[in-house]
């Protein structure tokens, strides 16, 4: 997914992963980072939880279960995405078909990376998280609707919970605005450089 893909509303099924502190080494093990592309990382998502030593799918892992095929919203334990800064984590999750992850909070770098790729990190309170987890486990056909403009996640019973998102990321995602374009267009950078001496010159011994 490119940096300027538009997101508005989508409806999807839930995949429950009731584990706290899921780190980016679980989301994509480091040995899959020897790539120069963003594409094709979906098959590496949760690789060591998904496949055994022989490379056979582990039947107990949620993404291997027939009833959760096609799920696009993962409900996870608290503090999702802790650990390394690898943007390969959201790339892998998107490659595995996810459009959003729901948790009570996200690690800072993961959340920032996810938002730049159109993977929505949806923060809900613990009660809602538990409710979604139970719904997803009891009935894999459970669907939720996520509407970015109104910042709501709507449960099957019609209850809508709001989720926070910073206004800039929301604006960029809704309108397909790319953040780099914003920085490139900024005139203040030149003025800053003119009034602040360079701290180190890395090329001085080159």
């Amino acid at each position: 997914m490119s940096e300027n893909a538009k997101i508005t509303t989508f409806t999807g099924r839930l995949a429950p992963l009731p584990i706290n502190d899921i780190d980016t080494d679980q989301i994509i093990p480091a040995r899959y980072l020897k790539t120069t592309d963003k594409e094709g990382l979906g098959k590496a998502a949760f690789f060591d939880w998904r496949y055994d030593a022989k490379g056979e799918p582990k039947p107990e892992f949620v993404l291997n279960q027939a009833q959760y095929q096609g799920a696009s919203v993962m409900v996870a334990g608290t503090n999702f995405g802790c650990g390394s800064s690898r943007e390969h984590a959201p790339w892998a999750l998107i490659g595995a078909g996810l459009q959003a992850v729901v948790s009570t909070y996200f690690a800072d770098i993961f959340r920032s990376n996810a938002l730049k790729n159109g993977l929505l990190p949806i923060i809900v309170d613990q009660e809602t998280q538990h409710q979604l987890m139970s719904l997803a486990q009891e009935d894999p056909t459970t669907q939720v609707t996520i509407d970015l403009a109104s910042q709501t996640l709507t449960l099957p019973d019609g209850r809508a919970v709001t989720f926070p998102i910073d206004p800039f990321s929301k604006h960029c995602l809704l309108n397909g605005v790319d953040q780099l374009g914003f920085l490139l267009a900024l005139e203040e950078t030149q003025a800053y450089e003119a009034s602040h001496p360079q701290r180190v010159e890395t090329t001085q011994f080159a």
Binding site: T35, A53, S112, V200, Q204
Partner: protein
């Protein structure tokens, strides 16, 4: 209003302040780049016909996917993994095409990105420093604001030298008192993370302060700041002082002559002022601190080395109980057991947390004249070629080799295990690195994080050992 160290550095780098609609735009003084998290950013630049705005504020090194195996007869470190070869070749091309200085594999200044910045004097107080690597927090030890970024952001900084950021909250982390013999900076940070948990610092920048922090050497301060991210904080800072200035002075990129005096005068204005307010604060007593070790699958699962593995059944929160059960199952440990005496297969001394010359000296003093247990493989991986060369000038490599340890080339090595240095499934390691996540050091591998002293004591006995049993005052 009295200001914090963080707010001084933050405010002086605002290209554009935060508004109700947009994050702040922060100027970046130094961008460090490595082969693993940058390729897609260079691709973005090429696709959009962009140049690197300031190659002269950017420094590149190879560290993550590079082998640490011996050089061949030509003095070259051979890379055999085809994916690593492709990634490293692409990285060299990217740096050449965009004019970025690069420390190539095996050259005299190459090493772990968070070791080379301070070593070269590129890391200085009051700077903003970023890198596509979460352990960029290391550089905060100098009173810099330094944090890890994703690859999209690497592209933003390459193209514009700026970054969009919301202002984080601040947490004062005060460590009072004095460390006992055999207790180190690594034990301080493991104890902090055990106290707050791996998510406790989310949304915050830490400032470490207090008597025990002030007493630390510069390299020990780097060990503390390095693991800020393991407590969830993107950055951790320590106010610059005489220790800092002495460390920076005379390094290749440090200011010289009159410029040096001006720089130090400016750096002296950086520390947090009396009465400055933090959003949160915590306190730790160094006097009561013991060597620490982790037992689980995140760095927050740590205990005093003479303590016992917690019992999940005593946790009231169901989610936490499930998490700890899962961790103990993965680690093959029982609730309430001691880790002392636990058999170990591999000891890893290295990583951006603990691979600097002072770490190697400290380890060498303890290992000298002893033998690594026959049942243990001990790897010593210096953080950089400079560290390696210095250690060899001091004869440390001979001490490690005589003890039966492997003396290897510089790099991230088994901290991230993407270069072939890794545990076999089921193996136990005591590691001086920063992460004990499932599979982090090799699929199925089981990691206990600890200090270099604990690592050496364990290597010698073959089982987890309290380093205070071997520690003598001469080792200080």
């Amino acid at each position: 209003m009295p200001q914090t160290l963080f707010s001084k550095v933050w405010n002086s780098h605002l290209v554009r302040p935060q508004t109700s609609d947009t994050p702040a735009v922060l100027y970046i003084d130094l961008h460090l780049v490595h082969e693993v998290t940058s390729p897609q950013a260079f691709t973005l630049l090429r696709e959009r016909g962009l140049k690197v705005r300031h190659p002269d504020r950017t420094m590149a090194t190879m560290d993550h996917s590079t082998p640490t195996t011996p050089r061949n007869a030509q003095g070259i470190i051979p890379v055999t993994d085809v994916l690593a070869i492709k990634q490293l070749d692409q990285f060299t091309k990217n740096c050449n095409d965009f004019g970025i200085p690069l420390y190539e594999l095996g050259t005299e200044n190459q090493g772990i990105v968070h070791v080379i910045g301070p070593e070269q004097g590129l890391t200085q107080p009051g700077m903003t420093i970023v890198c596509g690597d979460s352990h960029t927090s290391t550089h905060g030890a100098f009173g810099a604001l330094a944090f890890g970024i994703g690859t999209s952001e690497v592209g933003h900084v390459l193209a514009t030298q700026t970054l969009l950021q919301y202002e984080p909250k601040t947490m004062a982390v005060k460590v009072d008192g004095r460390l006992s013999a055999g207790v180190t900076a690594k034990d301080i940070i493991l104890a902090i993370i055990a106290q707050i948990g791996v998510g406790g610092g989310t949304g915050y920048v830490f400032e470490y302060m207090g008597e025990a922090i002030r007493a630390l050497s510069m390299e020990a301060r780097m060990t503390v700041c390095n693991m800020s991210i393991e407590g969830g904080a993107r950055a951790g800072m320590i106010a610059p002082d005489e220790t800092t200035f002495q460390y920076v002075a005379g390094r290749p990129y440090a200011p010289k002559g009159a410029t040096w005096d001006e720089a130090v005068a400016q750096w002296r204005t950086l520390p947090t002022e009396d009465g400055a307010v933090f959003d949160h604060d915590i306190t730790l007593d160094a006097n009561t601190l013991t060597p620490m070790i982790t037992y689980g699958t995140n760095p927050g699962m740590g205990i005093p080395i003479n303590g016992r593995v917690p019992d999940p059944d005593r946790l009231s929160n169901v989610d936490e109980r499930v998490a700890m059960d899962k961790a103990l199952t993965y680690m093959g440990l029982q609730p309430n057991q001691s880790l002392l005496g636990q058999k170990i297969d591999v000891v890893f001394l290295g990583s951006c947390t603990n691979s600097r010359i002072s770490d190697l000296r400290e380890a060498a003093r303890m290992i000298q004249g002893h033998k690594v247990s026959d049942s243990v493989r001990m790897m010593v991986v210096p953080g950089s070629q400079q560290v390696k060369a210095q250690a060899e000038r001091e004869g440390l490599h001979e001490i490690f080799r005589a003890a039966g340890a492997e003396w290897r080339e510089a790099g991230c090595s088994m901290c991230i295990a993407m270069n072939g240095d890794q545990l076999e499934p089921g193996q136990y390691a005591v590691s001086t690195s920063n992460r004990n996540f499932e599979g982090r050091q090799g699929k199925g591998g089981r990691t206990f994080l600890a200090s270099p002293l604990t690592a050496v004591a364990t290597a010698l006995s073959g089982v987890v050992t309290d380093p205070r049993e071997l520690y003598t005052p001469e080792m200080a």
